[in-house]
């Protein structure tokens, strides 16, 4: 779960990290009033969960009420990399002498958290990491002890931060780590952390992503969650609790287990077709989930044929077959050809149950995919 910039800044500010004066606005009038309140120059920033907002026209610096109104009118309601902008953060534009980066994330390879500091803030830090890894000081943190204060200091001095602001930056990093740990962070970043002429530091941007698996114990943050799906089908997938990704092709794919579904996609490609989606219905697929999955894939106008591939471990083939029958019986006519392949637990029973008036069956993964590719070509042709 990604927090919006304004949400992350509120969390950071509550923990004591300095942030600019700011206010959220959902209308142009609110935005102008907010700009007047925080004072000029002010920044008007689109609140969408996507990188590169500035270059895409989502951030404007304004010097007057007139400019604030123009910027708010331009940004509110705009489509920014596929996301609709329905709110802006209006904040004090900080006068800075330097831009730093501080961040905390989980190093998967090491299995432990890592805290990072760089004097190369204000830019794409991934690019810095790739091109000049030495420009980022890293401290791996023992998750038993948490980050020792000396580690925050060491990262800051190793990164070459000026002595005048080193203590302030170390404090921000320590606080950021503690937030990350307390709030089940996936990533927590300040980029840039601006250094002002009088040696203060201010978090000019804020990123805070929360581990979805830990939201159950972060009720305050879970409340903030909101759908930021790119389109209606992805919104529907969220509602149904599916892992779903929409793609460009015309072969609809439903399966259980991420690896097997990805493999099905790969086989569609391998046999000359183009996958229309990734849809993992997960383990223990009951009739309702099967119905929902078919509903989703049928609703995608791009889909010309569907391959339904279930390998039963926990999932029982007979239950899936019943689900498919029940789901399809609701349709007067089946909108797109469906090829079903069941394997594993109770798959023989399942294959026997399947209503072959409604679906085509296949014995193996390979033949199922080939049949779906062929069917899609026929429809498409």
């Amino acid at each position: 779960m990604k927090l919006h910039e304004y949400q992350a800044k509120e969390v950071f500010a509550d923990a004591g990290i300095p942030t600019p004066a700011s206010a959220l606005a959902t209308t142009v009038d609110e935005a102008v009033a907010a700009a007047a309140e925080v004072g000029y120059p002010a920044a008007v920033k689109a609140q969408v969960q996507v990188g590169g907002r500035g270059k895409a026209g989502g951030i404007e610096i304004v010097e007057s009420d007139v400019e604030a109104r123009e910027a708010a009118e331009a940004i509110l309601g705009m489509d920014l990399k596929g996301y609709h902008v329905d709110r802006v953060l209006v904040e004090e534009a900080v006068d800075f002498t330097n831009e730093l980066y501080v961040g905390v994330t989980m190093d998967r390879g090491e299995g432990e958290p890592v805290a990072m500091v760089s004097t190369r803030g204000g830019v794409n830090i991934e690019a810095v990491a790739a091109e000049e890894p030495g420009a980022i000081a890293r401290e791996h943190v023992d998750p038993g002890f948490g980050m020792h204060p000396y580690q925050a200091r060491r990262a800051v001095y190793d990164a070459g931060v000026d002595h005048e602001v080193a203590n302030n930056v170390a404090d921000v990093l320590q606080t950021l780590y503690e937030l990350w740990a307390d709030k089940d962070g996936a990533d927590a970043e300040v980029n840039p952390l601006m250094v002002t002429a009088d040696g203060e530091v201010v978090a000019a941007d804020a990123v805070m992503n929360i581990d979805d698996d830990a939201l159950f114990r972060q009720p305050d943050l879970a409340e903030l969650e909101e759908q930021a799906a790119e389109d209606d089908l992805e919104a529907k997938a969220n509602e149904y609790g599916f892992d779903y990704v929409r793609l460009a092709g015309n072969v609809g794919i439903i399966g259980n287990g991420a690896g097997l579904v990805m493999t099905t996609l790969d086989l569609v490609d391998h046999y000359g077709g183009e996958p229309a989606n990734f849809l993992d219905i997960g383990g223990g697929a009951q009739a309702e989930r099967v119905t929902n999955a078919l509903d989703m894939v049928f609703a995608d106008d791009n889909v010309d044929a569907v391959v339904f591939n279930i390998f039963g471990g926990i999932t029982r083939g007979d239950e899936v077959a019943e689900g498919i029958n029940t789901a399809l019986e609701q349709f007067e006519t089946i909108p797109k050809p469906v090829i079903v392949r069941l394997a594993g637990t109770r798959s023989t029973e399942g294959m026997e149950i399947l209503n072959t008036d409604l679906v085509q069956v296949a014995e193996t993964l390979e033949t199922a995919v080939q049949a779906a590719v062929t069917a899609a070509e026929e429809v498409d042709g």
């Binding site: 399966g255 790969d266 990734f278 471990g313 394997a343 993964l365």
Partner: protein, 289 residues
């Protein structure tokens, strides 16, 4: 022979009274797994599926000589359940639970490095030595005993590949589903090391997927340290960059690493033939044996 589990493995099931815990305990018993105890705090003294229940893993290990634990407890308590198993101690912990908070696993992983216990998972289908013992939720009927080791990040994909192997008469020594979470107890290299040391594993299948660097590192390990031949499969060739596909492992970062291509190249560069389809993987294994 085999790795991690065999018919002597004495298993305690944590969360044995839950829906999944109970169902799969019955399935494990039916398969022949030597399940000697269950653990649920406050339920000590009861019996589930014919198995005595204890309040703590420590008591189960002491009273029933359990040396392996399978964790079915809900995600919020799974980290603590792993710590409990490590402290009992047992030699192997297989954590089936899906959705364990990453920071909990980071703490468990820290502890794992200090102890001799192996851990597999979380969010994994488990470990099976066909004909002897299975710990987890793998469908026992698709496996057959033999000399092919299998290690995989994915559940149902594993079943698919095993199905193809079994169809050809290529039985398995042991199959290890390591799980797709960001932090796991046993990674590819750990499992490959075990297979390399097992005289009855004559070839290994490694099923990877997009995301992370583990397959690349495993490929280097194979090139440098393994005599046992390995065949590979990588899921996610057609996944677009930046999209999260299912579990945490299956995401391609924007840069050049973590892609199917980089993984396939790394494997092939280290002498590992990679199949385009599960069927082709079985072909490669036949060639290698």
């Amino acid at each position: 022979m085999s790795v991690l589990v065999d018919s002597d493995t004495r298993v305690v099931v944590q969360g044995v009274t839950g829906g999944e815990g109970k169902f799969h305990t019955e399935q494990m018993l039916e398969y022949g797994t030597n399940v000697v105890a269950g653990v649920v705090p406050g339920r000590g003294g009861q019996t589930v599926a014919g198995v005595p229940v204890y309040d703590t893993v420590h008591a189960a290990a002491r009273e029933e000589d359990a040396d392996a634990a399978v964790v079915f407890v809900p995600p919020a308590f799974a980290g603590d359940a792993c710590f409990e198993a490590l402290a009992a101690p047992v030699d192997l912990v297989v954590t089936i639970t899906e959705g364990v908070p990453t920071q909990d696993m980071s703490r468990v992983y820290r502890k794992l490095r200090e102890v001799d216990t192996h851990m597999v998972g979380p969010n994994c289908p488990g470990v099976i030595t066909p004909g002897e013992s299975k710990l987890g939720i793998l469908p026992g009927n698709i496996f057959s005993a033999g000399n092919v080791g299998l290690v995989s990040r994915s559940g149902t994909l594993t079943y698919q590949v095993v199905d193809n192997l079994t169809d050809r008469g290529l039985g398995q020594s042991t199959a290890v589903g390591i799980g797709g979470d960001p932090i796991i107890g046993t990674d590819f290299i750990d499992a490959l090391e075990l297979f390399e040391a097992d005289p009855d594993t004559h070839a290994v299948v490694m099923c990877g997927e997009i995301g992370g660097e583990d397959e690349e590192e495993a490929a280097r390990f194979i090139g440098e340290h393994m005599d046992t031949p390995v065949a590979g499969f990588i899921a996610g060739r057609t996944a677009p960059p930046g999209k999260r596909m299912g579990h945490a492992g299956a995401i391609v970062s924007g840069s050049g690493t973590g892609t199917a291509e980089s993984k396939i190249t790394a494997l092939e560069d280290n002498g590992v033939p990679v199949g385009d389809t599960p069927e082709e993987v079985a072909d490669h294994v036949e060639d290698l044996l």
